[in-house]
């Protein structure tokens, strides 16, 4: 099946500054696609081009079979977006904003009533429905942005940093709503700089850095793609004989091995879930009783580090910014 969204050398320049640089992505129908990258990586700019809010400098995106350059109206009809910064008039009331949004998205009167009420309850703003945007907190405004998507249920739902400014409880609720939206049939694109968020939600993740795509795969494959990314720490009752150590080293998946203490070994390896039993068996055969094992998987931070040589925090500090006039 053809991907529902495909970007082809998608590029955006602001003056001389290249915010998005020949990006090639393909997003499948029905998936939650995470766009992960540090501040200034070009995530929002990419999403704005896909939603036809801004025009690409070069390249294009095909959305549901429609080129955003030649058929922007058709592409736009498939899309709904919850912006990173809530884009709302401060004097408007929450309920008015959502009602009008529902209307312009083509909901019938009866559908609208039900869905607006439901969405307001879902995001916990029913009691605040008659407040003006001005009088809401930052997190509440952000939730109004998300509510628009819940009401619209677009074929392609784009969410830019869905949980920035939102508390922990709210975060999980929004994650669940995103999953529910997907289960209803929407394809989701999610931009975030939170590793955990991308990890728990996405079917696939594209990591962006300085406008370029670094890598794109499932969270699991991304983590597995780091050689020796899994870490297994084993503590033993007594010191391990050299012979046993050598036998373990010979396993293909073991990339590196550090003797922290005579009876404490740290293995860097791949696919820990299948290798660890093998290691245990070797220890067992060589009569080396194990006291404790701790397995830790690499995080997406490690993945990012692997591909850029930088942690996300470092990348955010070092990413060049376009000069704003």
């Amino acid at each position: 099946m053809a991907p529902i969204i495909q970007t082809i050398n998608l590029t955006k320049k602001f003056g001389d500054f290249v915010a998005v640089d020949h990006l090639n992505l393909s997003i499948e129908e029905g998936e939650i696609f995470g766009l992960l990258g540090p501040n200034g990586a070009g995530k929002t700019t990419t999403l704005m081009m896909i939603t036809t809010v801004i025009k690409p400098t070069e390249g294009t995106a095909i959305v549901g079979g429609h080129d955003v350059r030649s058929e922007p109206d058709k592409a736009r009809n498939l899309i709904g977006i919850a912006f990173q910064e809530p884009k709302l008039l401060w004097v408007d009331k929450v309920i008015d904003v959502l009602n009008w949004h529902a209307k312009i998205c083509g909901l019938s009167k009866s559908e609208r009533k039900v869905r607006v009420k439901w969405a307001l309850e879902e995001i916990d703003l029913w009691d605040a429905r008659n407040k003006t945007i001005h009088s809401l907190s930052g997190g509440m405004r952000k939730r109004v942005e998300v509510a628009k998507l819940l009401i619209q249920r677009p074929k392609i739902a784009i969410i830019d940093e869905p949980t920035a400014q939102i508390d922990v409880v709210g975060k999980h609720r929004i994650w669940n709503m995103i999953r529910a939206l997907r289960d209803e049939g929407s394809t989701i694109i999610l931009a975030t700089n939170e590793l955990n968020e991308a990890d728990v939600l996405s079917d696939r993740i594209a990591i962006m850095h300085r406008g370029k795509l670094l890598v794109c795969d499932t969270p699991k494959n991304l983590k597995d793609s780091i050689p020796g990314g899994d870490i297994v720490e084993v503590k033993l009752e007594k010191e391990l004989p050299e012979k046993t150590l050598r036998a373990v080293k010979e396993l293909d998946e073991v990339v590196n091995l550090v003797k922290v203490k005579p009876n404490h070994i740290r293995f860097h390896l791949n696919r820990s879930e299948t290798v660890t039993p093998k290691i245990m068996e070797i220890f067992w055969r060589n009569n080396a009783p194990v006291l404790s094992i701790r397995i830790s998987e690499p995080s997406l931070d490690d993945v990012f580090l692997h591909y850029t040589g930088l942690t996300i925090e470092e990348a955010e500090r070092l990413t060049p910014r376009a000069k704003k006039p």
């Binding site: 704005m48 036809t52 809010v53 801004i54 401060w90 312009i104 083509g106």
Partner: protein, 255 residues
């Protein structure tokens, strides 16, 4: 078409919230007529200048109310709402058309009662003419709205727009027949006279006076000329508005 109407609904509702501004402008209008108009008419040689002036001021306020849509656009730019509107399942054509129509309607809704007062003072003789004139004036305010949208997105800076509007208001109003008949403009300077012949405010003021039965100092003896001119003016700016809106806003934000 349904979406255009929804855009209209949004903008008209929004207008009603500018209560303070609306009250102040109405006061301005009343002051212009009740003070300036009354006093100036004693000083001016042309016959029934008070009526002539009242009709002209109605056109000025209609024009400036239609221009007001620019401030909506600046407010939206400030809050990023422009991006929201651009992301909706709605074509640029529907969006700009809806906004121009809304702005035309709201100008009319607002200036309508004021015009009614003026018409009452003048005393209408030919209701059919008046109906035609009012319809043309609606088209006029729709065109001015398209002009305002074009200017706002082309300039993109509220400060500059404000300054430009000051100059433009002076120019557009002064070189038109809103305040004085064309013969005087022509006498002062033939070039001014020439420009005033092509000024939409001249057409609008002429039509309103024609509809209200103040026929003595009309620029064009045939009302079809200003009607046609207004239709051309309005279609031109509605179209330009759509093109400029797309070109200027989709390059990447407001700056």
């Amino acid at each position: 078409m349904k979406k255009v109407l929804l855009v209209v609904e949004r903008d008209v509702k929004r207008f009603l919230r500018y209560r303070f501004l609306l009250i102040m402008r109405a006061l301005w209008f009343i002051v212009q007529i009740a003070l300036f108009g009354l006093i100036a008419s004693r000083m001016v040689v042309i016959e029934n200048y008070f009526q002539y002036y009242a009709a002209g001021v109605s056109i000025i306020i209609l024009y400036s109310t239609a221009m007001f849509v620019s401030y909506d656009i600046y407010e939206e730019a400030e809050h990023g709402v422009i991006d929201y509107l651009l992301s909706l399942p709605l074509s640029r054509r529907e969006l700009v058309l809806g906004r121009s129509i809304a702005s035309g309607i709201r100008s009319f809704m607002y200036v309508g009662p004021l015009m009614a007062i003026v018409l009452f003072l003048i005393g209408v003789t030919n209701p059919l003419n008046l109906a035609i004139a009012l319809f043309s004036l609606f088209i006029f305010s729709f065109g001015v709205s398209g002009f305002a949208i074009t200017l706002a997105v082309a300039i993109k800076s509220e400060d500059r727009f404000d300054i430009l509007m000051g100059v433009l208001d002076a120019l557009i109003v002064r070189i038109s027949t809103t305040l004085y008949p064309r013969t005087f403009i022509q006498q002062a300077n033939t070039f001014y006279g020439l420009i005033s012949n092509f000024n939409p405010l001249t057409f609008a003021a002429d039509l309103f006076r024609w509809g209200a039965g103040i026929e003595k100092y009309l620029t064009f003896s045939n009302p079809l000329i200003p009607i046609m001119a207004i239709i051309i003016f309005s279609s031109f700016f509605a179209l330009i508005g759509i093109v400029v809106y797309e070109k200027r806003l989709e390059g990447g934000g407001w700056q």
